[in-house]
Amino acid sequence: MPLSKTEWLALEKKANELRELTLETTHWAGSGHIGGGMSVLDILTVLYHKYMKLDKNDPDWEDRDRCILSKGHAAIAYAPVLCDFGFNDVEMLKTFNLSGSKMGMHLDSTKIRGVDASTGSLGHGLPIAVGTALAARVLGKDYWTYCILGDGECDEGSNWEAAMAAANFKVTNLISFVDRNRCMIDGRTEDVMKLEPFADKWTAFGFIVKEVDGQNIKELCEAIDFAHENKTDKPVMIICNTKKGAGIDFIEDDYLWHYGAFDDEKYEKAKESLKKYYAGRVARAEKEGE
């Protein structure tokens, strides 16, 4: 079922609200992983607001779809998504990163409702997601497991252990994403540790690979629809080409904004930038939507 223009625009509106809430959370917290938070937000938006089967009143519902955010440092965006969704009080975001808060820069699955795995140490999410997906098979359940990796974390060997397992066990109820923003803490991914030919690597490990613009909701939805309809015995990896800090023009695509602080002036500038960015996104949806 192709994404209608109405639905596209609704998802753009939600994505914009979540970008604004992420920015606000960064401001409240004083600092945060804003770059990677902004790059992954569209993926989170389409999962939580179009695809995932969830019960707002019961985050632990056993038949729910799972989302394992392997790039756990994107909690600065993930926490707003989970609060806005209704799993946690939005007021909690005002305590993000503060002493004594339940909500730190990597979310704790035992403290924050709706978090399917405590991540932060990189290279952990895909193995966990493979386990969650295999469990559905053992338990006879039909939930989907989604896993979102950062590109920099693909340096970790454990991802490739899990990639082999996903292909070996034919884990087709798992849909994986890489937030390919091409930045990591010390520089650009291709300068620090080359990932390319990145898609070929996943293909060689036994995945069907789709490459999309990770800041294009329509493309994201088409790739997820493709993965849902996959009838082969290979798992699907969606490489999402994104921009670190997407929507905030003065930090966009700059690896130095892996983690940063916004004073009041920068915060106001970022808000203005997000408005313009949203307008552009809406215009694209209006033009390209059907």
Binding site: A117, P127, V130, A135, V138, E161, M164
Partner: protein
């Protein structure tokens, strides 16, 4: 016998400890459909092949990939399964330490690590395969229950208790045949409660794993030949440690020796020492184990002898500690 145990002493002498674990796992698998077994190319070595034969759809061999082993188990447990994952202790505690720490323990999930070939029990394989740091690593991770059973029966009991008790467990067992300590599994095993396997009032030997049998042999010899009354505690649970049993030993015997097939840094000896020192009571104390060096290569029993953690080594340690003077400034009437 406890818990529907079907083994006899014949089984315990004809089956290695790991084989008994393999049988116990099959029993659990039959009773509980949510039990799954995982390994990293060590199904044969860790003796979980019986589970594979009976429950092929609940058995996962992830290849030689321990980090993946732990991550997959964590994901399965998160979804409601009860994974038992088995690999060698050295890899379970160190190759996958980050996953043990974060995926299993931080999330406090219900997964059970059965770590085989512990201590120096894979003797001839050398230090790449000796696990002499695993107790130090695992007992410092919050939420994790750490158990080192003394023989096959105790392994059976520990595995069953691990299933019954929510949360992550690390159970370290040996590679081969352990000397049989208990006559059956029905001796009131409780997690966190030491078992007094020999009464004594002169000195207490606190041991774990295969060293408990050696301590018992030493105690019998010393009683018969030298009139030294040695209390022997099977301290199977390294964490949470049985503080009451240690404090009682301090007050009753004032002399304690710990014996473990592990580095003397960070393992059972350190755990006991922490309790003794915090008690504020004078107590002669000696740790027997691997003296912060890599262990020699050889048969397990030979290595234990070389390390002084066999019965002869323990007898010598008892004689040494019995000569120690420690009580002159202490008030024997203090309350515990």
């Amino acid at each position: 016998m406890a818990g529907g145990l079907t083994y006899t002493s014949v089984d315990s002498t004809t089956l290695s400890t790991a084989e008994i674990y393999g049988k116990a796992l099959v029993e659990l698998g039959r009773a509980h459909p949510e039990v799954v077994a995982l390994t990293a190319d060590l199904a044969k070595s860790t003796k979980i092949g019986d589970f594979l034969k009976e429950f092929p759809d609940r058995f996962f061999n992830v290849g030689i990939a321990e980090q993946d082993l732990f991550g997959i188990a964590a994901g399965m447990a998160k979804a409601g399964l009860v994974p038992f994952l088995s690999t060698f202790s050295i890899f379970a505690s160190m190759r996958a330490a980050d996953q043990l720490h974060t995926d299993l323990c931080y999330q406090n999930i219900n997964a059970k690590v059965i770590a085989t070939h512990s201590g120096t029990s894979f003797g001839q394989a050398g230090s790449t395969h000796h696990a002499i740091c695993d107790l130090a690593v695992t007992r410092s991770i919050p939420n994790l229950t750490v158990i080192c059973p003394a023989d096959g029966y105790e392994t059976y009991n520990a595995v069953m208790k691990a299933y019954e008790t929510p949360g992550p467990f690390y159970i370290r067992i040996n590679r081969g045949f352990d000397r049989v300590l208990y006559k059956d599994a029905d001796y009131g095993y409780e997690v966190g409660k030491a078992v007094e396997v020999h009464e004594g009032t002169d000195i207490t030997v606190i041991a774990c794993g295969s060293c408990v049998f050696q301590a018992l042999e030493a105690a019998k010899f010393l009683d018969e030949n030298e009139g030294i009354k040695v209390r022997v505690l099977d301290m199977h649970t390294i964490k949470p440690i049985d503080k009451d049993a240690i404090l009682k030993a301090v007050m009753d015997t004032r002399r304690i020796i710990t014996v473990e097939d592990h580095n003397i840094v960070g393992g059972l000896g350190s755990a006991v020492a922490e309790v003794v020192v915090e008690s504020g009571k004078a107590c002669a104390f000696k740790k027997c184990g691997i003296e912060d060096k890599f262990a020699p290569i050889g048969l397990h029993e030979d290595i234990m002898s070389m390390l002084g953690i066999d019965s002869t080594g323990i007898i010598n340690a008892v004689r040494e500690v019995m000569k120690k003077d420690f009580e002159e400034d202490d008030n024997w009437d203090d309350d515990m």
